[in-house]
Amino acid sequence: MSAVMITRKVRKWEKLPGKNTFCCDGRVMMARQKGVFYLTLFLIVGTCSLFFAFECPYLAVHLSPTIPVFAVLLFLFVIAMLLRTSFSDPGVLPRALPEEASFIEMEIEAANGNVPAGQRPPPRIRNVQINNQIVKLKYCYTCKIFRPPRASHCSICDNCVDRFDHHCPWVGNCVGKRNYRYFYLFTMSLSLLTIYIFTFDIVHVVMRSVDNGFLNTLKETPGSVLEVLVCFFTLWSVVGLTGFHTYLISLNQTTNEDIKGSWSGKNRVQNPYSHKNILKNCCEVLCGPAYPSVLDRRGLMQEDSSASATSAAPPGSSMSSSNSMSSSTAPPTMKTTAPLIPNEHTPEDVKPSLGASEQKSPSPKEQRPPTPKLPPLASPETDAEASITKDKTH
């Protein structure tokens, strides 16, 4: 009767919106632009190779064999931390499915009451009280959710990231809740490695010069000059960065909050997340639990839900059949379809029926009518300013 269709098993990462690239069948998740990351890798590996080739044999013999051994361990740690930061999910929040989005719309509509025609509806903000401090949660037009506290939308990756710190081009990924400690350990160990190589380069050149003369030393080990140059310039930026992040960690702040001046003290606002104790803050950030990824990248897409395989692929694990059933029977019988209410912040072409558009379009910007292509971030003012500040960071 019907032709046999051989359907390839599709994993959820293939259908995730946003501008990430995935490798190794969804195990690796990075930003789209990876050029600077390759540069970082090249600089680290290149400089260390030169160190192992030129300095280590001499130092092992004339000083101590532990010097190269420690250098190798430090180098491996740096690479492990770099790869861990670059390849892991920073804490991306999946976009709201149509039902959740329309539920939120209805709540907003109810909260705003009747807005007379011609008047602007109020901006979409939800106030929550955290530790006796009022925090405003902003609505994300791209992800259709009210962002949790400390989350922010990264315009480069087009995702909302939990505890968003910044987007780092050097690691080719966002830095957020899940990979902040790896990022910090990366900068710290890289500082140590840079100082270590710089120091022993100088020691080596001095020791050799005493025997052979300075110019002969440079001729014998030309790599040293290159290493010293790279280390010298790297030192300032990386050590400075480590110091800055140590300061942020001790105050339990993110780079994003620091740049925006969220807790700068004006209007008597204080950081509600800080424990007011440096040690406690450090422990929470560095020794806190290892948060799991809520994007089920390697889960399989439901085969029977090709019609309802909408938008942000529901990050469902195979934990219970009941859950998978609920996600696949969802859309067709939904009663509540509140239309998107345009207000001053709504981007121009995202006007009509949110709930009706359930077809998955091939482009990452789903649920938009095929009118002029919208830039990845909608117009809300804080997103625009945040994207500018993010681009400036590092």
Partner: protein, 158 residues
């Protein structure tokens, strides 16, 4: 008659999805994972308030246990750091262990309490830990919405 389902299979075959309720996060204590225990009005005729609150409170306790910062989390963190986090390739983190417990708990709650009342809880991790999604089902055979509170008392006898 009112919606009465004896198991999840029956729910799947004879019910159609009527509505969904989303229980939002409670941020009053910070960014730790906690859900509001406020009883939504849509569920008033479907389930007792105490059962619902018990479920949400138990879930909150599980999440608090997973995110607790204390001796065990320090030990796990330091050990992992010493091995350059390679240990996570073979070992399951404490959070993941608790998530599995949560998955089992939700399945058990669905089977015992929610499915007989025509409701279904979706594990929050499938919604990005933002909401607890409760799906409300209507019996396909019945016309219109379910009739009031008689279903609640009738369906628990097992």
């Amino acid at each position: 008659m009112a919606t009465e389902f004896h198991n999840l299979q029956e729910l799947r075959h004879s019910a159609s999805l009527a509505n969904k309720v989303f229980i939002q996060r409670d941020y009053s204590e910070g960014t730790t994972c906690k859900f509001q225990t406020k009883f939504p009005s849509e569920l008033e005729s479907r389930i007792e308030r105490t059962l619902f609150e018990d479920t949400v409170k138990t879930l909150n306790n599980y999440y608090a246990e997973a995110e607790k910062i204390g001796g065990q989390s320090y030990l796990e963190g330091c050990l992992a750091c010493a091995t350059a986090y390679l240990i996570f390739l073979c070992m399951e983190t404490r959070y993941e262990k608790v998530l599995k417990k949560i998955g089992k708990y939700i399945q058990e709650q669905n089977e015992k309490i929610y499915a007989p009342r025509g409701l279904l809880i979706t594990d929050p991790i499938e919604r990005g830990m933002r909401v607890i999604e409760i799906s409300i089902y209507e019996d396909r055979g019945s016309s219109g919405s379910s009739s009031g509170s008689s279903s609640v008392s009738g369906s628990t006898a097992r």
